[in-house]
């Protein structure tokens, strides 16, 4: 089966998932992103007119202020023209099909679509459908993938830990419904992290998750032992209604990240979270605001990584 993300020369043409991408492509993006981060240590993002004259359409079928804003900032740092489309309030509510909406936008001469949709596979469908010169970036499709989030997480890990090949990484929380977790797992294993752990109650783990190359833990205290990186996932309120969990309180007691549980990890372990956080549900405030948390730097790095993705796609011919 042809890899829908790569062109015939093996270069990145769409970014739809971290699954199926060779490690050199992931490292390329991380290296490019490094170049965009200001070297003087203040962590500011440079403005580089690489995408001057290009149009980037943010097509969000599912609401998101944070991701859309970082894509917009990233595009503008590259001097691209940005158009934001909040589809929920427009044509699809009038009955227009997804592909009709996409066709109309193609006719407006976009160079790149950044797409977020509530259904798994939406980005693949759009990528299959658009004209060959248009690039598609998946900003999150259902439970399936959120590749730019995973890439910024990898960038963050490399920034603080330097190497991947000697790390123990734990992903904690609702993996069943998480596109972030799936993309993180593929990126971590591709980049050579030797031990990826998942920590969750059985109701929040997808079946056969170990086939993705992870070690499964139901006991968070066991799972966090000697870990270098803790990747927390958000717990949505709907999980209690769906009979997956009894209460946020019990979840916090057994699966919430507290100082006490964090102490079981390595002393220099870093704590990450894709945001937005539910304080007191999956993470204690003292940890979120504590010295081991790198949650805010993640956001800054996210701009550089998205700039790297966009410039990589635009550069490939």
């Amino acid at each position: 089966m042809n890899n829908p993300q790569l062109n015939k020369q093996g270069e990145l043409h769409h970014l739809l998932s971290t699954e199926g991408l060779p490690s050199r492509i992931l490292f390329d993006i991380l290296d490019r992103a490094s170049a965009f981060v200001d070297g003087d240590g203040r962590g500011e993002i440079r403005k580089v007119p690489l995408l001057h004259g290009k149009s980037i359409f943010n097509i969000f079928f599912e609401n998101s202020t944070r991701t859309r804003t970082t894509f917009e900032i990233a595009a503008k740092r590259l001097s691209a023209d940005v158009v934001n489309l909040n589809i929920g309030s427009s044509s699809t509510s009038k009955g227009e099909t997804l592909l009709d909406t996409v066709d109309n936008l193609c006719a407006m001469h976009a160079d790149m679509f950044v797409v977020r949709h509530a259904q798994s596979g939406a980005a693949h469908l759009i990528a299959k459908h658009v004209a060959p010169e248009i690039h598609v970036i998946n900003a999150g499709d259902g439970r399936h993938a959120h590749p730019t989030q995973a890439l910024l997480d990898m960038f963050t890990i490399r920034h603080y830990k330097k190497e991947f090949h000697n790390l123990r990484v734990a992903i904690v929380g609702d993996l069943l419904h998480s596109r972030v977790a799936r993309s993180q797992i593929h990126a971590l294993t591709t980049l050579g992290v030797p031990e990826v752990r998942v920590i969750a109650p059985k109701t929040l783990l997808p079946s056969h998750v170990e086939k993705l190359g992870v070690r499964v833990f139901h006991d968070m205290k066991q799972g966090l032992r000697d870990v270098d990186v803790v990747l927390m996932l958000r717990l949505q309120n709907e999980r209690m209604q769906g009979a997956a969990l009894p209460s946020a309180q019990e979840y916090f007691k057994y699966y919430g990240l507290t100082q006490e549980k964090l102490a079981l990890a390595k002393p220099d372990a870093i704590v990450m979270h894709p945001g937005p956080m539910n304080r007191g549900v999956e993470i204690d405030s003292s940890v979120a605001d504590g010295s081991q948390s790198v949650i805010l730097p993640q956001v800054t790095f996210g701009i550089a990584v998205r700039m790297a993705v966009m410039s990589t796609l635009a550069g490939a011919k």
């Binding site: 099909t97 798994s120 499709d141 993938a145 799936r182």
Partner: protein, 425 residues
């Protein structure tokens, strides 16, 4: 019209025939096999040299989309697809709009189908009104109008008391009840098999136990009520095992499988190919292998197309939003042949799965070419390869996982009641 089908390899599983023998047709019926009856003068001679002559195929599940879903397909288009596929009898499920739960609707459908003079259409009536699973339909009246059995199609029937009563009532008259085993709670919102592929793709999933739990319930109730139970579209190894045990016990149960499920697995979804969005879902390769073993053993009696034409717009959506189903009338024969060839089964054994066995399940006298039988015949070229493309299909549904693939086995002639209704030479 007197027809002589000459020099074809005649395969009639019911009568144990697999030999080069002529078939003589007159007044819509098979007159004789092998030797011309005295005084027989053929008005038409079909030269079947190099071709295989079999009873017309019998398809246990073909959605014709009428009444109600004419934008997906019509009787005209689907009936012509059926005979192009060598299918001369088909059973259509009751999930039309309105549902086939009134004798008047059944009569109208039969009348429309008869007027087209193509394949015989045998409606399967709704077991409950509107398929809602609460009130029984007038089963005796529906059989009088032409129904051959009763089913819930893909609608849930969660009230086990209603299910038991429905089976008891059907058993009173000796009517068959056809059910697809799926626990609606466990399957809710699921679109793919609960396995590695659904996990990777982030698709809501249906575990195997959704089938095995419902199937256990159905088999137990069949034991209690004595109803003639037919299990539709078995999809898992666990399901096959349950049927095997039930048959061993002597329960009155039969079973069919969809042609897609004996060839495909969850892996074929690939990058979210919505043509592989099927009900039941495509499961693990081990399940597929168990289905094939079940066919070989006879645990699974018949193969059907589960023909469900879907318009392009309804398929060109993200996987979970796309409408489930695959077109299939024209692929049934080549896919049955492909199974036979791969698993080294005889042609007779394979053809039985879509002729005599299917007829037995439907309780009709068909699927064989004994003298006196209706002259429903399929003549095909077993060697000919053809490409499955939209233009090649007569069905309005172009939605099949086999799109752009080459299949072997092409129908050349189809006769219904001794009339040549399809020719492709």
């Amino acid at each position: 019209m007197n027809i002589q089908i000459k020099n074809g390899r005649l395969i009639d599983p019911k009568n144990n025939i697999d030999a080069v023998q002529d078939v003589y047709v007159a007044a819509g019926k098979v007159l004789a096999i092998s030797k011309a009856p005295s005084g027989f003068k053929a008005d038409k001679i079909i030269d079947a040299s190099g071709l295989v002559v079999i009873p017309g195929l019998i398809d246990l599940a073909a959605r014709l989309r009428e009444p109600g879903y004419e934008y997906k397909a019509t009787l005209e288009s689907e009936m012509s697809a059926a005979v192009a596929g060598g299918i001369t009898s088909l059973a259509c499920p009751p999930d039309t709009d309105p549902v086939l739960d009134e004798p008047g609707l059944v009569e109208m459908l039969k009348h429309r189908a008869r007027a087209l003079s193509q394949a015989h259409v045998y409606p399967v009536g709704a077991l409950t009104y509107g398929l809602k699973g609460t009130e029984l339909t007038e089963m005796a009246e529906l059989v009088d109008a032409g129904c051959v059995a009763f089913s819930q199609a893909d609608a849930a029937l969660t009230d086990t008391r209603v299910l038991m009563r429905a089976m008891q009532y059907a058993a009173t008259f000796g009517f068959g009840v056809w059910l697809r085993p799926q626990d609606s709670f466990l399957a809710r919102n699921g679109v793919a098999h609960d396995g590695e592929v659904a996990t990777r793709l982030g698709l809501p999933a249906i575990p195997v136990c959704a089938e095995s739990i419902a199937l256990s319930t159905m088999l137990q109730l069949a034991r209690v009520t004595g109803v003639r139970l037919h299990i539709c579209r078995i999809s898992s190894a666990e399901g096959v095992a349950l049927i095997r045990a039930a048959k061993k016990e002597g329960l009155l149960v039969s079973c069919d499988v969809s042609m897609n499920h004996i060839h495909l697995s969850e892996m074929d979804i690939g990058f979210f190919d919505s043509n592989c969005n099927l009900i039941p879902p495509l499961r693990h390769q081990r399940d597929r292998d168990a289905l094939r073993a079940g066919l070989q053993e006879g645990v699974i009696d018949a193969i059907c197309s589960n023909h469900s034409p879907v318009d392009d717009d309804a398929k060109q959506l993200p996987f979970a939003e796309a409408e489930a189903g695959a077109t299939g009338l024209e692929l049934l024969l080549p896919l049955v042949l492909k199974w036979a060839q791969q698993d080294k089964r005889t042609l007779a054994e394979a053809i039985a799965k879509v002729t005599v066995n299917a007829a037995h399940i439907m309780n009709i006298d068909a699927g064989h070419l004994s003298p006196g039988a209706a002259a429903d015949v399929c003549i095909f070229d077993p060697e000919c390869y053809w490409k499955v493309e939209a233009a090649a299909l007569k069905s309005q549904g172009k939605n099949t996982p086999f799109l752009d693939m080459e299949l072997q086995g092409k129908v050349r002639y189809t006769l219904v009641n001794g009339q040549l209704v399809y020719q492709n030479t």
